[in-house]
């Protein structure tokens, strides 16, 4: 036995369980199953409706939060869905940022990183939000809506897939020329 492995049994068990949990939480399929089920539970039984299939959406929930803030601070009457106007606002987007912060801190992956092109990202953000509100959901909610059986959602899913392929081929073409 080498000196480095002389840990207490409790620590050894903890390391093994952390490894197993790490493999589970690091899998995209586990993410899909857990998030799909939780979005339905939150949307159907915990009151995040109407509209239907509204459990998880970054664009719509973000819009509900900003509209709620503007309405309460400025006294205006911007559009909020019924789910976002039940007294307190929807905090999904805050939860996502905080959850990701906690996960990256716990696993030593948090790093303030500036890759440049920030003004371009600002413009893309504005365009993505406008398009998402026009269509009625961010790509994640479009997937969940399609699972709900929403024909408009299925149509939007096909459109998003077309857009992704077109943009990817454009990027590859631009990188090769």
């Amino acid at each position: 036995m080498t000196a480095g492995t002389a840990a207490s049994p409790r620590e050894a068990v903890r390391a093994v369980s952390r490894g197993r949990l790490g493999r589970l939480t690091g899998s995209a399929v586990v993410y899909g199953v857990v998030v799909g089920v939780l979005a339905v539970v939150v949307g159907e039984w915990l009151g995040v409706n109407p509209p239907a299939a509204y459990g998880l959406c970054s664009a719509c929930h973000g819009r509900d939060l900003t509209s709620w803030l503007v309405n309460h601070l400025e006294g205006r009457h911007l559009f909020i869905t019924a789910a976002g106007a039940k007294g307190w606002p929807l905090l999904t987007v805050v939860g996502v940022v905080v959850g990701s912060y906690v996960a990256s801190k716990r696993n030593g992956e948090h790093a303030t990183l500036n890759l440049g092109g920030n003004v371009r990202q600002f413009v893309y953000g504005a365009l993505v939000m406008s398009a998402a509100l026009f269509v009625g959901g961010c790509p994640t909610r479009i997937i969940i809506r399609s699972g709900y059986g929403d024909l408009a959602g299925v149509l939007a899913l096909g459109g998003v897939a077309t857009g992704i392929v077109a943009a990817t081929l454009t990027l590859r073409w631009a990188a090769r020329r």
């Binding site: 993410y31 899909g32 509209s67 503007v70 940022v97 990701s100 890759l115 997937i143 709900y148 077309t162």
Partner: protein, 143 residues
């Protein structure tokens, strides 16, 4: 109150798992087209299938029908179909150019990516601008 807590809790879970799995709802197809990598595409497929199964179970439990197509979700006409298709193509196009889907940008922002902070700034400015001026002027002709 319960709505806020439920959405906050769901957000925390999504943020944590999203950071660990690097899941992105547009990244799957992009990676498949570029390098034939299907890891994230499987995640998107799992999300679709599990949402479908869970919604079917929820309908079965509450006894409210069992149709595959939900009532009242059919686009009202050709104009609505065209509007949704064009809007969705633009959504997929710009999201791919920005590098990640909006949910993944939130995760990257929590992880410390400065480009994602700028993305979110544009995102929420556009939310207020869109609901203040664009949405009232285009009305409800999309659906």
């Amino acid at each position: 109150m319960i709505v806020s807590l439920a959405s906050l809790g769901l957000g925390l879970v999504v943020g944590y798992l999203g950071q660990r799995s690097r899941m992105c709802s547009i990244g799957g197809l992009r990676d498949f087209v570029l390098v034939r990598d299907t890891a994230l595409l499987k995640g998107a497929g799992a999300l679709l299938v599990s949402a479908w199964v869970a919604f079917s179970l929820a309908r079965f439990v509450s006894g409210s029908g069992h149709g595959l197509i939900a009532a009242g979700t059919t686009p009202s006409g050709l104009r609505a179909v065209a509007a949704i298709a064009v809007g969705a193509i633009l959504l997929g196009f710009f999201a791919t150019l920005s590098g990640a889907c909006p949910l993944r940008q939130h995760v990257l922002a929590g992880q410390g990516r400065i480009g994602a902070w700028w993305f979110l700034a544009g995102f929420y400015v556009a939310a207020v601008v869109y609901t203040s001026w664009i949405q009232p002027s285009i009305g409800g002709w999309v659906l």
